[in-house]
């Protein structure tokens, strides 16, 4: 089998990259994924889409991605509803330090055209009446942030990419990347041998291992982030509610269920994605403290998924100096789903040698060379 490019990882990033390459006319694109579609980080994420970030690059990636999501259903010609709901993200400040940081963040966001604003406790209560007002000092709100169904959004890209001729092989594991004279010549899976000169590494939690396979050292690691979902109820909450200090994100999805997650302090750097009762305990305490009526909701299911963390918690998108034809889209640090439209557009431009839509020098892996100081993202749960 021959391919112009092999994409390793068939989650939201891989399907978006494949779709964008095919749309630009590239033929013989092959995607491998060792799991079912969205069996990795994509299908395990919190289904949120936000533009309220602390670094300029994350703001721009998010804003332009939201612009795509607004038209995704029609553009991709998808026959199911991707459940895009723009009812905002309410980010609450629980202390003066956060209040000051958020004021600065909102200024940055507004300067980039993102309609976020700083609001008072009373204004926050108008948006989410069941918030514990004693737990917060202020908030920021962006009405065009929201929710999107990760399974169906990935399927939408997948269906559109297949229509353009992309070949997908799920449940097929890449075992080896063969090089000759520091050039890629072949990719070997448990079922295929593919002659190719180009490989995209968008393997999510396993990007480091794929990098190692190609002899390219990528400064990322994976860690388990747990999450749970409740029974569905009638709609009571429009926006996603986040607190970085309390360590919680919580939204009611269109289906009626509440999805909530938090990070586990000191969690090991590995591929564990199991569920713990410690998470359940801490999650319950945090949710009931910040959003008291949620105490009455039954937990239906919990699960875990990998954040693939980069040193500055901004993604790594671009080519590599070490190996010609080896491209990266990894290290999304928990936000690969919401940046996927831009990931696909930007990396397809890099691969085809086009001028990129935005300057992405700051997303290149070279930014970590010689301990250069990069823009560190603090707005992460």
């Amino acid at each position: 089998m021959k391919a112009n490019i092999v994409i390793i990882g068939g989650g939201i990033s891989g399907t978006s990259i494949a779709y964008n390459l095919a749309l630009k006319g590239m033929k013989d694109i092959v995607v491998f994924d060792d799991n079912y579609m969205t069996g990795g980080a994509t299908g395990r994420c919190g289904a949120g889409v936000r533009q309220q970030w602390g670094t300029k690059m994350n703001c721009i990636l998010a804003k332009k991605s939201v612009e795509f999501f607004e038209t995704a259903q029609e553009v991709l010609g998808y026959h199911r509803d991707v459940e895009f709901k723009q009812e905002g993200y309410l980010i609450v400040a629980t202390n003066e330090k956060e209040d000051a940081t958020f004021a600065k963040n909102v200024k940055l966001q507004q300067s980039l055209g993102i309609p976020a604003r700083k609001i008072t406790v009373d204004e926050a209560l108008e948006i989410v009446p069941h918030l514990n007002k004693d737990a917060i000092v202020s908030a920021t709100f962006c009405p065009t942030d929201g929710h999107l169904n990760p399974f169906l959004m990935t399927d939408a890209y997948y269906v559109a990419a297949k229509r353009l001729g992309v070949q997908f092989f799920y449940r097929e594991k890449v075992l080896e990347i063969i090089k000759e004279n520091n050039k890629i010549v072949k990719v070997i899976t448990n079922n295929h041998q593919v002659e190719t000169n180009k490989v995209v590494n968008c393997a999510g939690g396993f990007s480091k291992e794929i990098g190692d396979m190609a002899g390219v050292d990528i400064p990322v690691y994976s860690e388990n982030h747990e999450i749970l979902v409740t029974e569905p109820i009638e709609k009571i909450q429009g926006p996603m509610v986040i607190s970085f200090a309390e360590n919680i994100y919580c939204q009611q999805v269109p289906h009626g269920a509440f999805i909530m997650g938090r990070s586990t302090i000191g969690v090991a750097h590995n591929h564990d994605i199991s569920s713990t009762h410690e998470f359940l305990d801490e999650m319950a305490k945090t949710a009931v403290h910040l959003l008291p009526p949620l105490a009455n909701l039954r937990v239906v299911r919990q699960w875990g998924g990998s954040y693939n963390i980069s040193p500055d918690r901004q993604p790594i998108i671009g080519d590599t100096d070490q190996l010609e034809g080896f491209y990266l889209a990894c290290g999304f640090s928990g936000h690969g789903f919401m940046f996927a439209p831009m990931t696909g557009i930007l990396l397809s431009e890099v691969i085809l040698g086009e001028k990129t839509t935005i300057d992405i020098t700051d997303l290149h892996i070279n930014r970590f060379k010689n301990n250069k100081k990069t823009d560190y993202e603090t707005s992460v749960v």
């Binding site: 079912y36 579609m37 969205t38 069996g39 299908g43 199911r80 399974f151 169906l152 399927d155 979902v229 409740t230 029974e231 289906h255 569920s275 359940l280 305990d281 999650m283 319950a284 305490k285 949710a287 009931v288 949620l294 105490a295 009455n296 909701l297 039954r298 937990v299 239906v300 299911r301 919990q302 699960w303």
Partner: protein, 93 residues
């Protein structure tokens, strides 16, 4: 009986017709069906629909039932209120 009127998943209101439509689209595992239709994601966590879906997949693929993978079982085994967990923790400390 009309396949639209045969309910396979009572939690998420999924009919036999829905299952057959998605199988026809080429999604032939429980994990795929679950993510597209929400089947098995409701309060019973697939305890009711699990075997029914497995049978439909087996029939569609013309394979023996024991070759069809069931979906991944996740905690909790029973719905528990968030408030009950918080109360239980108070009693512990």
């Amino acid at each position: 009986m009309n396949k639209k009127d045969i309910i396979m998943c009572r939690c998420e209101d999924v009919s036999l017709q829905d299952i057959h439509d998605v199988l026809e689209e080429g999604y032939t595992t429980f994990e795929d069906l679950k993510r597209i239709l929400r089947i098995g994601m409701g309060p019973c966590q697939g305890n009711t629909c699990g075997l029914l879906v497995q049978r439909e997949i087996a029939k569609y693929l013309r394979k023996p039932l024991n070759e069809i993978e069931t979906h991944k079982v996740r905690p909790l085994t029973n719905g528990v209120k968030l408030g009950s967990i918080v109360e239980a923790l108070k009693n512990e400390s």
